[in-house]
């Protein structure tokens, strides 16, 4: 929809340029002569559009994250009535039954079903070096995995070079001789988040300054954990998760049983069929089955809420900017009443005067808006934390990247042209209505 709007706006500007008879250099030179006013007016546009671009980049990042998580070929199984993993409870017997269904793909190497049994938990971690006046703890998403290599295959997740999955036991002896540390694989986002806890000495010694690296440790649940690998996961919510052995972290956090069963089907259609079967026809166990990709895409509701709030704020700011450009154009016209009179005298029609002044306003808008888009684009790639939630609670703390793409630029350009057009219209109409006789008096 945005593309249609921006194409229309650009087409309108193009049409105006085509039918414009008052020489464009007349318009442009006036903007240069009154450069201070032009600059002040354009900068207002720059700010409004710049802020809009950054906010849209944020929403874009959130959208990409929720829409890029999960595979269409996977079916996510939760217990009946649970809409979120946090509230789900599956038992091993039921899961075994489901895994043995023929529609579930098998691993060609082992012949075992490509099914991952998982326990998803949100845990509290007291911040190690928290200043007294700030938050004292953070929420971490953890996923207890029964078999890491299998889980990696089902999720289609790879590790960054230099890392490895946790062992069968899931723990590792520590050089200081204390209790064994829990091995964990981190998503890139949470690795970045936890890096903030490093002491200055650790920071200085770190190989990867902006995120935790293989071999570093952190504390959760009164245990030390050690990083064995980092998941390639930016662009998905798994980037904000910590994966470790299920048999360890379940008891540690008081969760017996599993929350999630993830099944791989042959392709997207097969997944759809499997999901329908489990939902409607499967009588042995009552479950809530969904396509993995769709399950995460539903979480874009929060980004929709943000989008509405952003839209509202932008529109209001834009209105403020429109008043500014109206002032400028009314003043410009009152300065040039004689010019307008002469043009009418020479035979330029009313509408040609209108087009000329409308273009003047649009040029200011375009200059300011393009600069705003460019400035706002500096936010591309910046990481930010946020929350994604579905309908009934169960918020996930995610770390994502702001993304400025063509869509964001299109919205920025459309809005700036709209502002310029609306702000310039009333003054241009008043210029059009001037009577040549009175103008020259």
């Amino acid at each position: 929809m945005v593309w249609k709007l921006v194409a229309t706006a650009i087409a309108v500007v193009g049409a105006l340029l085509a039918i414009n008879r008052v020489p464009l250099k007349y318009t442009l030179r006036h903007l240069t002569v009154r450069w201070k006013t032009t600059l002040l007016t354009a900068l207002a546009f720059t700010l409004v559009i710049g802020v809009l671009v950054v906010m849209l980049a944020f929403v874009n990042g959130m959208r990409r994250m929720t829409e890029g998580t999960g595979l269409r070929e996977n079916v996510l199984v939760l217990s009946d009535g649970a809409t979120d993993e946090s509230f789900s409870n599956l038992n091993p017997g039921d899961m075994a039954e489901i895994e043995s269904l023929p529609e579930v793909q098998r691993d060609p190497a082992t012949g075992l079903p490509l099914a991952s049994r998982e326990t998803y938990l949100i845990v509290n971690q007291p911040l190690p070096n928290a200043p007294a006046k700030g938050p004292q703890r953070r929420f971490l998403q953890t996923r207890g995995i029964e078999q890491p290599l299998l889980a990696a295959k089902v999720h289609g997740v790879e590790l960054l070079p230099g890392g490895s999955w946790f062992s069968e036991a899931g723990v590792q002896e520590m050089p200081d001789g204390g209790p064994p540390a829990i091995q964990a694989v981190l998503g890139e986002g949470v690795a970045r988040e936890l890096a903030a806890d490093r002491t200055p000495e650790q920071r200085a010694a770190a190989r990867t300054p902006h995120r935790l690296d293989v071999g570093e440790t952190f504390r959760v649940g009164d245990r030390t954990w050690v990083v064995t690998g980092i998941m390639k996961s930016s662009g998905s919510t798994f980037g904000s998760e910590i994966w470790a052995k299920q048999s360890l972290i379940g008891p540690l956090f008081g969760k017996s049983g599993y929350t999630t069963l993830l099944l791989r089907a042959a392709d997207a259609d097969a997944a759809q069929k499997l999901k329908d079967f489990l939902t409607n026809d499967y009588a042995k166990v009552a479950v809530n089955a969904r396509i993995e990709r769709e399950h995460y895409a539903e979480m874009s509701e929060t980004s929709q809420q943000f989008a509405w709030a952003i839209g509202f704020v932008t529109v209001v700011m834009a209105v403020g900017g429109v008043f500014g450009v109206m002032n400028t154009m009314f003043a410009a016209i009152s300065q040039r009443i004689k010019d307008i009179g002469v043009l009418r005298l020479l035979g330029y029609a009313r509408w040609q005067i209108l087009v000329s002044f409308l273009l003047e306003s649009l040029v200011i808008a375009l200059i300011g808006g393009l600069l705003g888009c460019a400035l706002g684009s500096l936010a591309d790639g910046v990481t930010a934390s946020s929350v994604v939630t579905g309908h009934s609670g169960g918020g996930k703390f995610v770390v994502m990247e702001l993304e400025v793409d063509a869509w964001v630029w299109a919205v920025g350009i459309f809005l700036t042209l709209l502002m310029g057009g609306i702000g310039g219209l009333a003054p241009a109409l008043s210029a059009m209505r001037l009577r040549p006789l009175e103008a020259l008096r």
Binding site: V22, P23, K25, L345, L346, G347, Y348
Partner: protein, 232 residues
């Protein structure tokens, strides 16, 4: 209702013009009749408020009479719509003003070119006509100067060039020397005469400077909305 063409390029018939000021009606022109032959240099004089500018505006197609007819050439301009008048003015009238009314941000060349942009000519064509006009007024060496870089007399010459560049039927000048010193005024008036002779233009001059008027073929005085002829 075509009026007889008797060689007059401008024919004013029974024209009344009044304005409303609040609830009062001010009659500026009453039952005016006037013929201007082609090629004549006519001066219109009268005190301020006598209506000479009003008459000028009617003949130049800037305003319409309350009653009566105005013909210029074969066109009954008093019946034309505003859009038609706009198109007509470009081709038929050249204006010269007391305060020049040039666009400050455009060069001399660009100012003179302005009316030509409405005629759909090619760039080469336009260049030809603009250069001709500027040469005729003697400013071919200052075509890129802006009005701010020209003297009053030079600015008025640009104004004259603009007025003749479309080869109009009629040239209308409203106090063209009002803002100039004596020497420049003289130069401008001489230029107008030369142009009239070489291009055979009809010129309508509004002024209250008798020296400007004495170069005209004919002088008319407007007194209380009526025209009075004063022979030379």
């Amino acid at each position: 209702m075509a009026s007889e063409s008797n060689g007059a390029i401008v024919r004013v018939r029974g024209v009344h013009k009044f304005f409303r000021r609040g609830s009062e009606r001010v009659d500026v022109l009453q039952d005016l009749t006037l013929d201007v032959p082609e090629g004549q240099y006519l001066a219109l004089m009268g005190p301020s408020g006598s209506g000479k500018t009003t008459l000028l505006n009617l003949i130049a197609g800037l305003d319409r009479p309350s009653e009566g007819e105005v013909w210029v050439g074969d066109a009954l301009i008093s019946q034309m719509s505003e859009a038609q008048l706009a198109r007509w003015r470009t081709r038929n009238i050249g204006f010269i003003f007391q305060f020049y009314h040039l666009m400050p941000v455009l060069s001399a060349y660009e100012n003179v070119e302005l009316p030509l942009l409405l005629l759909g000519l090619s760039r080469a064509e336009r260049r030809r006509q603009v250069m001709t006009a500027l040469e005729l007024v003697g400013l071919a060496d200052r075509i890129h100067h802006r009005p701010g870089q020209l003297s009053g007399g030079q600015q008025q010459r640009v104004g004259i060039a603009r007025a003749i560049v479309t080869d109009p039927t009629l040239i209308v000048a409203d106090e063209p020397t009002g803002d100039l010193d004596a020497r420049s005024a003289d130069e401008i008036l001489k230029l107008l005469e030369e142009l009239r002779q070489s291009l055979r233009k009809t010129i309508l001059l509004v002024t209250h400077d008798p020296r400007a008027a004495e170069r005209a073929d004919r002088i008319l005085h407007l007194h209380k909305g009526q025209l009075v002829e004063r022979t030379q």
